[in-house]
Amino acid sequence: MILNEMVLPIIVVLAVLVGGAYSVAVMDRVIATRLGAPRAGNPWLSPLTRGAWLLVQQANVTEAPDGRAWRLAPALYLALAATGLALVPWSETLVATDLATSVVLWGSVEALATVVIFLHGWSANAPLALIGAYRYVALGLSYLLISMFVLIGVALPAESLQLTQVVMSQEGLWNVVRQPLGLPLFLVVGLGMTFWGPLNLADSTDLAGGTASEVSGPPRLVWDVARAAMLVAFSGIAASAFLGGWLGPWLSGPLWMVVKMLAVLAVLLWLGRVVPRVAPERCVTGMWVVLLPLAFVDLIWAGVAALWQ
């Protein structure tokens, strides 16, 4: 019993955390090459080479950093990604943390991510890193509400805040069809949470790397892995909330989850490569004035559809 309920889920979550981060790095390189970026080595090997290089590189320090917080932030971000992954149900029974309030816990992961990313930029005590951190807080506080409304939308037909119940409620029709606005809005949240591609305001090149501009060596490795792991955790939640989770014919539940998560990741990474970065000052207005009302519409849509049945 303890093997099935604890040891197996823990192994699954940790394996997906590491394997998922690696596959994000591989997929991103493959997509970049397909889109015409100059080919930089073998896509399967180059993430490992870069990781090994970061591991032996000297870790940079600034003149007067908040040393402990600086080392804590990447580890905490990784822990948040692990928490998110722990909520993802792989089948009806294989789920690490099947809380009655797992949607609420995911909401708190999103909110705490803002704190951790700000901490990462703050503790370096360097201007560019701090600007990245302030920019991220503006973004993080703007996408938070969109995410909450969209997730409440999937909780309505399930009559529960439990992710397994949310998946079960999609037996007849997946939420991506039933609430068509939900998944696109939630993908924006995913790009924001990991400050990826168009929403990379925190670690962008115009700030010479932003919150990570002063970070090198092993701390940089943990930070990069945590970012990719957070993207994986997000894709797991998105697949459960909108793409029917483990449900599907022929294949077994966990395999369906892997397929759906890879599909979400492919879309996110492709978007990250083709959409240009938005201007930070415009992104706040856009999120509150355009995307938030759309999230309202999604919630009303979800509510009407849930009562109609």
Binding site: M6, L55, V103, G107, A124, V137, L145, I152, E281, L307
Partner: protein
């Protein structure tokens, strides 16, 4: 049981994140001071980065708090929504309508402009 599993996963991730940073660097020396100057694209900083700084989007963060409180009511509401039917629609509709007026007002006041 569920929370214990979550706690173990959290400990593993935190521990791994900390160990990977600490183990390879435990014997290496710190970079020299000229190397430790914050990067400013060639310039050198004449103040701490942790100065007082006017965050221009400050009113937006206050507006967010109003909505976050509203989410607190929305979580239990979502669970009983189908059961309560139209009554739940009305109640949340009124609540959201009032908050939306707040957004429109904040928009007019330029809260979402960040310059």
């Amino acid at each position: 049981m569920e929370l214990l599993t979550l706690f173990i996963i959290l400990l593993f991730a935190l521990g791994a994140g900390w160990l990977v940073q600490w183990l390879p660097q435990r014997h290496s020396s710190m970079p020299t001071y000229p190397q430790r100057a914050p990067f400013l694209g060639g310039g050198s900083p004449d103040t701490h980065a942790w100065n007082r700084y006017h965050v221009r989007y400050y009113p937006m963060t206050l507006l967010l708090i109003a909505f976050e409180m509203e989410m607190m009511f929305m979580y239990p509401w979502a669970v009983v929504y189908v059961e309560e039917g139209l009554k739940a629609v009305m109640e949340m509709g009124m609540f959201l309508a009032i908050l939306s007026v707040g957004i429109v007002y904040a928009w007019r006041e330029g809260v979402f402009k960040w310059q």
